[in-house]
Symmetry: C2
Subunit: 140 residues, 2 copies
DNA sequence: ATACATCCTCCAGTCACTGGAGGATCAAGC
DNA sequence: GCTTGATCCTCCAGTGACTGGAGGATGTAT
């Protein structure tokens, strides 16, 4: 018989909160766990791998629907892998946009943050700067 | 009498959804709007400025509690402006962290996304890469 | 008179969890 | 055998910042 893990062990090994693991089960990212006689969830190495995959995907910024697709792909090894690459590429483009947006923001904020000479709020350039800011940020 | 604006006008002029304006009123970011005889909200130039301030603050990535502080500051022009600068600086530091994190992520994902040669999912390097990724991202 | 836009309130849903109440079970030490 | 404390269970509410829709009233243009 293989080694069995309690939900808390799984949580520790993957850096996931116990409640989050139950949540993943509820939304179907993880299969329904086997239960001990007293009703506690019991896991094995395959469950651990699957959860690790989910967590790594989340760290890489994939949404839960994206991870669902990726999991479906890895569950059916004969399907085309192009779909996985497409998800990754789309995600990469998205991250590029987010970085660019944050950098625009950083330069705007740098101006804002360095412009206060410390006086009454009436002359506060920070507040003025926010009031007058018109960022050209695309919403989509 | 000054020009009065309907909620839809305010929405158009600030690029805010009507529902969002009502939401800001509900949480107290905007004062309770004056009403017309038939109960419709009616705004003036000061309301427009306040909402613009809120939107710009949001675009700069300030949270609603932060904007609340900034608004309180600009409502009381005799208070110290150092607080405003502190909020801006804290925010700037945060953005720096977020950019750094996203860049770590981008290089990891670039590797992931370029490693698929288009075959069966069993050999898909994208999936492998996600399964094996261990990003050193600080959580706080 | 009619059509259509805009407004109102109220409420549910989004995303990805997080935290807590209230109670059962387990392992270890005495 | 008993107690203590950790861990587990289910269920439910809350987070942030909105977004969208139902169902109905009002405004405006033709």
């Amino acid at each position: 018989m293989t080694k069995r893990l309690a939900i808390g062990d799984l949580a520790r090994e993957t850096g996931t909160k116990v409640n989050t693991i139950r949540f993943y089960e509820e939304i179907g990212l993880l299969p329904e766990a086997l239960r001990t006689a007293s009703g506690r969830r019991s896991y094995d190495a395959a469950d651990l791998r699957r959860l690790a995959f989910v967590r790594h995907g989340r760290q890489l910024g994939f949404s839960i629907p994206e991870i669902r697709s990726l999991l479906a792909l890895s569950d059916q090894p004969d399907r085309d892998c192009g779909a996985a690459a497409a998800i990754a590429r789309a995600h990469l483009a998205d991250i590029g946009i987010r970085i660019a947006r944050l950098e625009t923001l950083r330069s705007a904020l740098t101006e804002v943050a360095t412009s206060c000479e410390g006086g009454r709020a009436a002359e506060c350039r920070v507040i003025e700067a926010i009031a007058g800011t018109e960022l050209a940020l695309q919403t989509d």
